[in-house]
Subunit: 333 residues, 4 copies
């Protein structure tokens, strides 16, 4: 059984059905009847006016968002282990025209007001140094930790004070909301987020993410930039179909809850091995090479995270009964 990545999971049957159902003649690009519903449906979810663009990948969503907040000569504060810094092959540099990622540290890839304040304090206010224009945080983080609404609000207060825009990379936003059991608006618009990359591909989707602008006017330029980046798919209705099906009856939350629950089962099996708290669907545990090999020999697949460390990721399709044997196997090591 694979715990390599939530990217490797299958597409949820309801999403696949929505794709099949969308297969009729319709207007190309984003003029179809499905794409036209996105603003309204996401507006209902968040309880405010939003402008929503579908894109195929989280990298595209993140980087389009950053272009809305940052000019080429400016900088974006993020964690040293943020996806945009570590795993997107320099996409932010490409999309923004060379803006600089300005890195802070923090346990579990979390950014804090203190680390951001300290970083900003090192930037001389002169033209020789790149000035920060935005902060990007990831919720859940790359290590599966969660920012609470209060933590987001504290960061957004700092951003307002310094004139920074605030982006949330929500590749696992659903897992964060499910974990907190809060309203999605509490974690975003009400806490001061300007733009959200709302991920679905890791949560049972096929290839669609929602780029959500809480100030709809900011989306105008993003629509051109999406086209210009080759991300305006001609049959966008199949992306819109995924997003709408995800919102239908809270499928996005159900999927995230299932993934989180599966992660808890594993976490509880080896509390002393945990490298980070398990708040979403990622489990980082200490395993020797021999232990990892033993688990693999039992049919489990996962990611080596440096020496002696292992990452397991659960997804919507990992049922409790599937995961228990793994938990037992880890406990038995």
């Amino acid at each position: 059984m694979r715990f390599f990545s939530d990217n490797a999971a299958p597409v949820h049957p309801k999403i696949m059905q929505a794709i099949v159902d969308a297969n009729q003649v319709d207007t190309a690009y984003d003029g179809d009847r499905l794409s036209m519903q996105l603003d309204a449906r996401f507006g209902e979810l968040f309880g405010c006016d939003v402008a929503v663009l579908w894109v195929a990948t989280g990298t595209a969503a993140n980087c389009l968002a950053l272009t809305s907040l940052c000019q080429p000569h400016q900088g974006i504060v993020c964690h040293r282990e943020a996806h945009i810094e570590v795993d997107e092959c320099g996409a932010p540099g490409f999309y923004t025209g060379g803006a600089k990622l300005m890195l802070v540290e923090g346990e579990g890839a979390k950014v804090s007001p203190a680390t951001v304040t300290a970083l900003l304090g090192t930037i001389r206010d002169d033209v020789h140094q790149v000035q920060a224009a935005a902060l990007s945080i990831t919720n859940a983080t790359e290590y599966g930790l969660i920012y609470t609404p209060d933590e987001v609000e504290a960061l957004s207060a700092l951003c307002r004070q310094h004139g920074l825009g605030l982006h949330m990379d929500g590749a696992r936003f659903a897992n964060a909301v499910a974990s907190l059991n809060c309203h999605p608006a509490d974690l975003t618009v009400r806490a001061g987020i300007d733009v959200l990359s709302f991920g679905f591909a890791k949560n049972g989707g096929m290839g669609a993410e929602a780029l959500v602008y809480f100030n709809p006017a900011h989306a105008d330029a993003a629509r051109y930039r999406r086209k210009r980046a080759g991300h305006l798919q001609s049959k966008g209705r199949f992306l819109a179909a995924q997003l709408l099906a995800m919102l239908e009856d809270g499928l996005w939350l159900d999927n995230a809850r299932a993934a989180n629950a599966a992660a808890q089962i594993i976490a509880e099996a080896a509390p002393q091995r945990l490298m980070h708290r398990v708040q979403a669907n990622e489990i980082f545990i200490r395993l020797t090479a021999a232990e990892a090999a033993s688990l693999r020999s039992q049919g489990y697949d996962f990611y080596d995270w440096g020496e002696g460390a292992t990452r397991l990721v659960t997804s919507w399709h990992h049922r409790i009964e599937d995961v228990k044997p793994l938990a037992a196997a880890i406990a038995a090591l």
Copy 2:
């Protein structure tokens, strides 16, 4: 019935089935068992070694191809009505880092050795002027005209002489091959094409194009640039599935032949109205506003192409019996 664009057509049932069939746990990105087959399968089709990358859109395919042939300070020769110039919102400028499109004229959006030679003759060989590094042609063209293998070869000979790379935008490459009834290699690798954007989305696909490098080494950088552009989808197996299903039993050619045949029916109904020869699946005809309105009132949908001109595009799903009433309606105007 819609003749607005081949982008608006449904996905072919075999493609949809291939997508459904691909829905299992597999490695993310392009390490899955389907993506791993692409080089071999396209290699068989073209009869040579190739490196193939899936991407979601023709714009992404075209622009990644251009980055392989052109440095930021150089230029790309293309037709004034080329898709990369007119319809991609400046994507080539974005992807290449500001390279210049250098425009030539020509009937039906066709580029000729004479027009390219004339253009190159106007460029002073000094650092004040952008020097051309590549030629990009579209086959079938934006007006549905076809370059023959001989015509491509004449252009590639000119490119070799001037040190230019040669890209083919094949958003409707299938229609061109079907129209010529030639081997796909005759129109590409044997005629000197370096990189081909092999389109499937307009030909019954959902959201997958093949970027085909006839010199596989050139694809290495493109793989990084694809990621960096946010086009490395995490569930790439669903794109690979589309491409493989298209090659299976020549579905890509069957679909193109059907579209071309439907176009011929319409073309034959109104030879005196044709603005361009109909060699593929696009028909440009002269219609007064009243005539266009009349057709629309009969349930036909199409694109106004400036004053007094109309574009109709057929697709794989237009059966002869569907198209004949339109042909009759045009003849009766």
Copy 3:
């Protein structure tokens, strides 16, 4: 005697003296006592608040100006023979991050409201096409023609109507003002210009141009972009010295008047050969190859401007008595 380019002329002695005089210890970059005077001195000249940045070249001035008016996904309207299109090796694409130059025609490289309106009318208002954000005009034009204040005002009215910023490439702005005998503000701020590249290198300077923002707030980002482009010279005082010396006692106008007067002498010698009116310091005349060779054999140097055409450029250092023999030689051909 050289009439090849005003770039080839010597530096005016007063400018050289100002450079020599500036040679003392002072603050680096643009914090020195000379650079600090620029806003005030140019503000007096134009009769309004301005923000002024020195840069070493017209290309840098033009392209920094364009970044103030145009986002990477937008376009800049200019003449097909504008310097930014023809002679800057794609610098606008580099500086703007791939914005598109959108070209209009017009005699003598002049842009008119009619040609701009026509161009704007061809741009579909959708995300597939680059939307124009700015207009750039050159005064005097690349063919030595002049826009009057009324002509500039007509263009700026059009720009306001369409939401375009308006840039003036004034590499030969001094020649235009001298020719019109108007106030420099009449041709710029009062006529709706947003940013002016005010050229001095062709007018007796060594290597300094003034980038003049009539809305000083727009200069803030330009200061960062200047540094980022490597144009913030550490000993900027030597550039500031040139600009201040040019404004002293109207040297810039005296130099331009001398150049214009010399051009008139030549123009009057061969009215029937003129390809364009001579309104500034450039003379385009029809010469056969034999005639050009004859002039060259008499010691005159100039630029071949395509077949049968010749460009002569006068500068501040061409005295009337130097030019008369050339005029006579042309008349005698």
Copy 4:
């Protein structure tokens, strides 16, 4: 007396004289008789074929060099305190089209084979991560430390092993050569440097640096990129004149030796205060705020380098007798 920066120093009289002497009609850009001598003269200095481009600033030299070694999707290893990272407002990102600076630590801003090896070891060999293409080192470093020829050679061996190009930011290259008393080739071409930014502005020049390509073919694209960046000055002869005058009778070395000697005087006055060895013309010393204020009250100007730290920079014009009083004042604190 100012010890704020070598940028604040006057231009050396011989350089100023060379500028005055260059003031005659000559070909524009880099076709003049002075610019045409650069390759030969620098070739003599380094004892090998070189291609040399003048540019006005070190930032432009560095960033043009980087574009020769690195594609937009790649990365450049440098020290966390390198000028290109800290003090150029993101210029490398602008020039390279978004390439990533990959940072290593090291005392006194020195890069070592160990730190580079460690960094390279953290980069996964997959398309999600930016791959390094070049290493850039600064000699003398930002803290005035020197790489010896052996140290450069060790780094270049590592670069060859990993396929990286090697750039030297030589804003204070003259100070390094003077300090080592070695042949300039020993520190560059013989030690494996590909491109050198050879600085003169901090060493008595006005506004000219030499970008030296030890593989002349690499300069071809740089010539276009220089123009495209607005750095091809129309009266380039005045930049060439500075470079040639610097090489004349070893003025560049004389100036650097004078600066270094002055620095030693200060260093010897306060050995216990030194934060870094003084190997070139920069002195970093620990001073309390009160001590700094005391020195300032005695007429000395310098740069606060964070809390309790001070940077003093000597230049060609600081004579020993000028510096001794400062040394005495520091010793007396």
